[in-house]
Amino acid sequence: MVVNQATLKRDGVQDFVSLRATALVLASYALFIIGYFITTPEVTFEAWQGLFSNLFVKVFTFAALVCMMIHTRIGLWQVLTDYIKNAKLRAILGFLLNLLAFVYVAVGVFVLWGV
């Protein structure tokens, strides 16, 4: 256990809790954005930019993006280990998918930076 905590090695409990904790953040963010579209009669550029220049929304968006990266890291790993039997192919696909998740986060950071 000490060794597990001292290194960055993942374990099942950590994955279980991370998957659910990030799911709660992602679901709240999705409901927040869908709620914004439902309650806003006419979304203009000014209103849209105003939304994401708000510090709370910026932090919420960034948190959702980081949670997405953690959530998909675990979820896609579960899918890959179940369906891709070839270890090399699985490693390559896992690498590419995690890279794509990182790109999503990076794009998000630069977009939020500029608003």
Partner: protein, 166 residues
């Protein structure tokens, strides 16, 4: 066939005290061959395996489970469109108008509807999953019931999302 004859011979030889009924059983060509002590040989054919996929249906719980996976993977790729549209719409007033203009067309509306629909299923199934973590809907009947419930609920949400977007 030489080995079947050998097996039969060994079956008879091994039955030294004559008490055993079946002395040897061999499996070959999807059937069991039983060599009995009195020399009788019985071939029991294996029950037929149903591989006609058109007559097999997954239970509701299996459908709910695989859909959760499929929608999860689909959402991950849908994010490419979502994040691109989000980035473009915030870049400039022209970018915003460009993205807004796209949503008058069928393809963008369909992608938006697909994303919202897939997202709603993933959230609904995720909530059911958390109930199961807490020990509910774990029996055969309640599990099938909750799975059917979320599938119906999803259909309603999908139609509502379609009405909202179009």
């Amino acid at each position: 066939m030489w080995n079947l004859a050998r097996l039969r011979h060994r079956a008879l030889r091994n039955n030294l005290d004559g008490s055993a009924k079946v002395c040897l059983a061999g499996y070959n060509n999807n059937s069991w061959t039983l060599y009995e002590s009195d020399g009788q040989v019985t071939v029991k054919k294996q029950r037929p395996v149903n591989l006609d996929l058109s007559t097999i249906q997954m239970p509701a719980t299996a459908k709910a489970s695989i859909l959760h996976r499929v929608t999860g993977v689909a959402l991950f790729f849908a994010l490419t469109f979502v994040i691109w549209a989000w980035s473009e719409s915030l870049s400039s007033p022209q970018g915003f108008e460009f993205v807004k203009g796209l949503f008058t067309g069928f393809i963008a509306k369909f992608i938006a509807w697909g994303t919202v629909t897939v997202l709603s299923y993933h959230i609904i199934a995720g909530i059911r999953h958390m109930f199961m973590d807490m020990g509910y809907f774990e029996e055969l009947e309640s599990g099938n019931g909750s799975a059917k419930f979320i599938l119906v609920l999803w259909a309603i949400v999908a139609v509502a999302a379609g009405v909202w977007i179009w």
